[in-house]
């Protein structure tokens, strides 16, 4: 470890590793730190990811793919099943990853590109001078070091401290977080080619239960519950999960327990300041509807790595510059999608089980592989006029897309 770098990346998840790799490939001097002694472990993720989108950021390697999915089955509270084929379901699910291998491979790629990587190294504070972030105080094996950097990238996850240290309020309200529990189960007879989602206020208030096959008869069975719908005198996610397990997989063996918090706040006001950018879960960039965060994190990492190069080359790492090279590009692309998902989330968390059943029922016999987003929304609106009103903004947006695609 030196005492000065071009870029210091805090956190070696998918966001941090891609940022470090991108910056290093541009020729910058990069330090990537991870507070844990093992990158990718413990896992805090359902591990599902879209095939098509993943290919944009990394070459697919069989070593970190557990299963290849071609369909999603969604179950309404009364058991009504909606089947979605790959083209539609592929939005978020396609592969189920082995994050322990995947995350490490991404960090290795950053290292290969020239970034220095240090594990069991955590940031304990930022070096701030003249209102600019100029590095961080790091602790490695009990010893503290001051490391200076032209740009600091905070990729420190849901529990992010980096933003707060720089004066960016990243705290989540209970309605802004899905609180999650998951078991990796073995010994259950699980179809390895499709994933399942279960929705309903009785089984997963404000969230859903997922079953993601992981190869060899194993599966990630997990639940997310909206933070505002759980609490001290209500069942916890782990209680709901146990109930579901008892009903569906009473014979299965639990070989791993996973817990996690997923930001579903939609995009936050600020993700950069003088000399600093936040990316991934630290920037609350996960999707408010699906909770999917891997691809957005990788996308933000790529944008931030390029932004670091642009800002440092220009000799200007001010907020104004970072707004131009980081904030603007991410907000115009995935920021827009995140905000649209937030609108849908805010509508769906208020639907009763009866309403969810009726929506599912109206889609039951629809052939999904030929459906566009617009058709899907139209089918939903037919069943529920109130939904049309609540989601009118989306509808406008979808209509715009159609017009754009025609011209």
């Amino acid at each position: 470890m030196k005492d000065m770098y071009d870029v210091l990346v805090i956190g070696a998840g998918p966001a941090g590793s891609i940022a470090a790799r991108t910056a290093a490939e541009k020729g910058l001097d990069v330090l990537l730190i991870e507070k844990r002694q093992e990158i990718g472990d413990p896992v805090r993720c359902a591990e599902g990811v879209s095939k098509v989108h993943l290919k944009k950021y990394v070459e697919i390697d069989k070593r970190w793919i557990c299963s290849d999915l071609n369909a999603s089955h969604i179950y309404a509270p009364d058991g009504t099943k909606i089947e979605m084929a790959e083209e539609i379901a592929g939005g978020e699910v396609g592969y189920v990853l082995e994050r322990k291998v995947f995350d490490r491979a991404l960090a290795e790629q950053a290292a290969e590109a020239g970034a220095e990587v240090m594990v069991k190294t955590r940031a304990t504070g930022l070096i701030i001078e003249d209102d600019f972030v100029r590095g961080a105080r790091l602790m490695h094996l009990g010893k503290e070091y001051d490391v200076r950097a032209r740009i600091v990238i905070g990729a420190d996850g849901v529990e992010s401290k980096v933003g707060r240290w720089a004066g960016i309020d990243t705290s989540l309200k209970p309605i802004d977080i899905e609180t999650c529990a998951q078991y990796l189960i073995a010994g259950a007879n699980i179809d390895q080619h499709h994933c399942e989602f279960y929705i309903g206020n009785e089984i997963a208030p404000g969230g859903y239960i997922w079953v993601f096959p992981k190869g060899g008869g194993k599966a990630n069975v997990g639940i997310g519950v909206l933070g505002s719908k759980t609490g001290k005198f209500k069942p916890r996610p782990v209680d709901y999960l146990n109930r579901f397990m008892e009903k569906k997989f009473s014979d299965a063996r639990i070989v791993e327990m996973v817990f996690g918090g997923v930001p579903v706040s939609g995009s936050i006001e600020k993700t950069s300041t003088n000399g600093l950018m936040l990316i991934g879960d630290a920037a609350r960039q996960s999707d408010p509807i699906t909770g999917g965060g891997i691809l957005n994190a990788m996308n933000a990492g790529k944008i931030a790595g390029e932004a670091a190069y642009a800002a440092i080359s220009a000799g200007d790492v001010s907020l104004k510059k970072l707004e131009e090279v980081y904030e603007k590009p991410w907000r115009e692309t995935m920021g827009h999608d995140i905000n649209m998902s937030l609108i849908v989330k805010n509508c769906f968390i208020n639907l009763s089980d009866e309403e969810l059943n009726s929506l599912a029922y109206s889609l039951k016999n629809v052939k999904f592989e030929r459906m566009s987003l617009l058709d899907l929304l139209q089918a939903l609106f037919k069943a529920n006029k109130k939904l049309l009103w609540d989601l009118r903004v989306l509808f406008k947006d979808a209509a715009k897309e159609v017009v754009k695609n025609k011209t």
């Binding site: 844990r36 916890r236 817990f259």
Partner: protein
């Protein structure tokens, strides 16, 4: 008043750290630490803990 984290129950996921309005919690490697001087024992962390490992002691 203080916050008690049951480390035998805690799954060190960091969800509590993310919702703490005061930044009083920190996930250090695989355990959660509380800064007693900043914690206002508001109980939001207790509310969202997926396993119920946090208790506000009044």
């Amino acid at each position: 008043m203080s916050l008690k984290i049951n480390r035998y129950k805690c799954g060190y996921c960091g969800a509590c750290v993310g919702v703490c309005p005061k930044g009083a919690l920190e996930l250090v490697e695989t355990w959660v630490e509380v800064d007693e001087s900043t914690c206002i024992t508001c109980g939001i962390c207790d509310r969202i803990c997926p396993v119920g490992a946090i208790e506000v002691m009044k």
